[in-house]
C-alpha cells in the first residue's frame, strides 16, 4: 500500500427518524447512491444497487436483518452485504454507520474515485 490514504469525512445522510422501522431511504452523495436501512432499529447503509443485475435496492423489503432486492429477490445480509442463495455470490458494499445528533452518518473518503465495491 503505497497510495496515500485519502482524508475521511463524516457525511450526515439523513435523520434516523426519517427511516421507518424495516424501511429504507435512498440518498445521493455526489456520485454515490446509498441506501439507508432501518432493520429493527439497527441502521445500515449499503450501496443502492444490486450485485445481481444492478436493480436499485430501494423499496426492498427488510426482514430480520436482510434486505430483499425488489427485482429477483436476492436477500442481502445488511451487516456484511453477503447474499443468500444461488442467484449471485457477489456481496453489496456496506458502510460503517454512526448516529450523530440523530443523523445517520457514514465515513466517506475524498479520493475522488468511486468506492471499490461500486
Amino acid at each position: 500500500m503505497t497510495d496515500r490514504i485519502p482524508a475521511a469525512r463524516l457525511e450526515r445522510l439523513l435523520l434516523a427518524a426519517e427511516v421507518p422501522n424495516n424501511g429504507n431511504r435512498a440518498v445521493r452523495v455526489g456520485e454515490l447512491c446509498l441506501l439507508v436501512c432501518n432493520a429493527d432499529g439497527q441502521f445500515h447503509v449499503v450501496e443502492n444497487r444490486c450485485s445481481h443485475q444492478k436493480s436499485p435496492l430501494e423499496g426492498g423489503r427488510i426482514r430480520r436483518g436482510h434486505l430483499s432486492c425488489p427485482l429477483h429477490g436476492v436477500r442481502f445480509n445488511l451487516s456484511t452485504g453477503e447474499p443468500l442463495g444461488a442467484l449471485t455470490r457477489v456481496p453489496i458494499r456496506t458502510y460503517p454507520v454512526q448516529i450523530i445528533d440523530g443523523f445517520v452518518a457514514v465515513e466517506l473518503r475524498d479520493s475522488g474515485a468511486r468506492p471499490t465495491g461500486g
Binding site: S68, H72, G73, A86, L87
Partner: protein
C-alpha cells in the same frame, strides 16, 4: 380427566396380523429404478410441506420448495390466500425464484425480463408487439399447483386428482385439533445432508424399540415400555406411538443422580420428595402433573394448554405422516422431522429438523428439545453436511443426532447380500406397514 380422542379407523400398530407381510428388500434403499418409481407413483401424488405459514406474513412473500429436480413457488396473494406455481418461466423455462423472498410487484424472470404477477398471470414483458402469435401479456399464466395449509404448515401436491389435504392427512387434523399449531415459533431450523435413503427416517420414527439402545438418555424421561405405549396406525398410512412422559419403571438412574422427571415436577411446584418411592413418583407424579398443569396453565401463560386433553398435557405422541414427515406433538414443543431424497443418488437424502415451541408470555428463551435452549424467535435457515456428526455441533448428543449417526451404517447394511428382510418385533409393526402402503402406491393399489 378428559379422554384422548380415539379415531374409529384406528388400527393397532403392534399387531402384525394386520399386515400382508411384504418383504422389505434392500434394493428399495439404493436402486435408482426404485427411486424413479417413487418419483412417478409416490412423490408426484402425495402432499408435500413447502414451509411454515409464518414465512409468508405479507402479500408478495414467497417460499420455494425444491424436490428432486422439481421446484415449486408458494406466494401469498393480495387477498391473503396462497397460490403455488411450478418454478419455471412460461417464456423459455428459466427458473423464476431461487429462495424465499418477497415479490414487490411480481416475479421478474432474470432471463428476458418477463414479469409474472403474484397471481401467476403475465403482467409485463419487453417488446410485447413482437409476438406474431399474439401478445401474451394478461394471457399466459404460470402453471398452478394445488396448495393448502394445515397445522401452520404450507402444503402442496403436484397431483390434480389427489384427495383434499385434510382428507389426505386424516385423521391427524382431528387428533391434533387441540393444539394451536399455527402459533408455535420455529426456534431452530436446519437441513442436514445424510448418506442414507430417505426411508431410513420413516422406518426409524415408526418404532421406539431402538430407543433404549440408541438413546439411553430417554427412558428416564419418556416411558419406553411398549406395554405402556399406544401404537396406532391408520388407513392413509399414518401412524403414531403415544408414550407417557414419565420415567420407565424398569430404567433407574443411579442413586443420587439428578433426575429429569424431578426437575419437571419441581417446575410445576410438585415436590418430588413427597412420594414414598420411585414407582409412586413415576405413576402418581405423572397424574399429579396433569392436574397441576390444569390448575396453573392460565396464570403461567401456557395458553396452548387451553384445549389439550390430559394425555396431551403430559405425553409424547410421536407421529409419522406418510410418507416422509414425522411430528412430535409435545406439551410445549412441536418437532418436525422430514427426509427427502437426493435428486440423483438414492443412497443420500436431506433431513429437515424444525424445532418449534409454543410461546409463553414473558419467556425469551425456550428449550427446543433437539437443539438445547434457543431464543424464542423465528430462526434462520441453516444447511449442513452431517460429516459423521462434525457438521452439526449444535445438535451433538441429541436424540435426532443419535438417529443420524445410525443412518449411514444401516444404508451400508441394506446393501449387503446378507440382508434379506427385517425380523420385526410386534412393536415395530408400523415399519412394515409403511412399506406396504408405499408398495400400494408403487403397484397401483392406491
Amino acid at each position: 380427566m378428559s379422554e384422548p380422542l380415539r379415531h374409529p379407523d384406528t388400527m393397532s400398530g403392534r399387531d402384525p396380523s394386520l399386515l400382508r407381510g411384504d418383504v422389505i428388500d434392500g434394493e428399495r434403499y439404493y436402486s435408482p429404478e426404485f427411486a424413479q418409481r417413487e418419483w412417478e407413483h409416490l412423490w408426484k401424488r402425495i402432499w408435500h410441506v413447502a414451509g411454515r405459514t409464518a414465512e409468508l406474513p405479507e402479500p408478495g412473500d414467497y417460499i420455494v420448495h425444491d424436490f428432486l429436480h422439481e421446484s415449486v413457488i408458494v406466494i401469498r396473494q393480495d387477498d391473503g390466500g396462497l397460490k403455488a406455481f411450478y418454478n419455471s418461466c412460461g417464456h423459455r423455462g428459466m427458473r423464476l425464484a431461487w429462495d424465499a423472498s418477497h415479490a414487490a410487484d411480481g416475479l421478474h424472470c432474470p432471463y428476458h425480463g418477463w414479469v409474472w404477477g403474484r397471481d401467476g398471470v403475465l403482467k409485463d414483458l419487453p417488446d410485447p408487439d413482437d409476438f406474431p402469435q399474439g401478445n401474451p401479456c394478461g394471457e399466459l399464466s404460470l402453471v398452478e399447483v394445488r396448495c393448502d395449509t394445515w397445522g401452520g404448515f404450507v402444503w402442496y401436491t403436484m397431483d390434480p386428482k389427489a384427495p383434499a389435504l385434510l382428507d389426505y392427512l386424516d385423521p391427524m387434523p382431528g387428533v391434533y385439533a387441540n393444539y394451536p399449531l399455527d402459533t408455535c415459533v420455529r426456534v431452530f431450523w436446519m437441513k442436514v445432508n445424510l448418506n442414507t435413503n430417505w426411508k431410513f427416517a420413516t422406518d426409524n420414527f415408526s418404532e421406539s424399540y431402538h430407543t433404549r439402545t440408541a438413546h439411553p438418555q430417554v427412558p428416564p424421561w419418556i416411558d419406553q415400555d411398549y406395554w405402556s405405549s399406544r401404537h396406532e396406525m391408520w388407513p392413509n398410512g399414518h401412524g403414531r406411538t403415544v408414550q407417557p412422559m414419565r420415567p420407565s419403571l424398569r430404567d433407574r438412574l443411579p442413586e443420587g443422580e439428578p433426575h429429569p422427571f424431578d426437575a419437571l415436577l419441581r417446575a410445576w411446584d410438585i415436590d418430588p420428595d413427597s412420594y414414598p418411592d420411585f414407582e409412586t413418583k413415576a405413576m402418581q407424579g405423572w397424574l399429579d402433573l396433569k392436574a397441576q398443569k390444569r390448575r396453573l396453565w392460565k396464570e403461567r401463560g401456557y395458553v396452548h394448554y387451553e384445549h389439550m386433553d390430559d394425555e396431551q398435557l403430559t405425553d409424547s405422541p410421536h407421529t409419522v405422516i406418510f410418507p416422509n414427515v414425522t411430528i412430535s406433538f409435545l406439551p410445549d414443543n412441536i418437532i418436525f422431522f422430514r427426509t427427502e431424497p437426493h435428486p440423483d443418488d438414492p443412497s443420500k437424502c436431506t433431513f429437515d429438523l424444525w424445532c418449534m415451541a409454543f410461546p409463553v408470555e414473558g419467556q425469551t428463551e425456550v428449550e427446543s428439545i433437539m437443539a438445547d435452549v434457543q431464543p424464542l424467535a423465528e430462526a434462520e435457515f441453516q444447511h449442513r453436511a452431517f460429516d459423521g456428526g462434525r457438521g452439526v455441533p449444535e445438535i451433538a448428543g441429541q436424540i435426532v443426532y443419535q438417529d443420524m449417526l445410525l443412518a449411514e451404517g444401516q444404508q451400508r447394511g441394506w446393501r449387503s447380500q446378507g440382508y434379506r428382510d427385517c425380523y420385526l418385533a410386534g412393536q415395530e409393526s408400523r415399519v412394515r406397514y409403511f412399506h406396504e402402503v408405499l408398495n400400494d402406491y408403487l403397484e397401483g393399489r392406491r
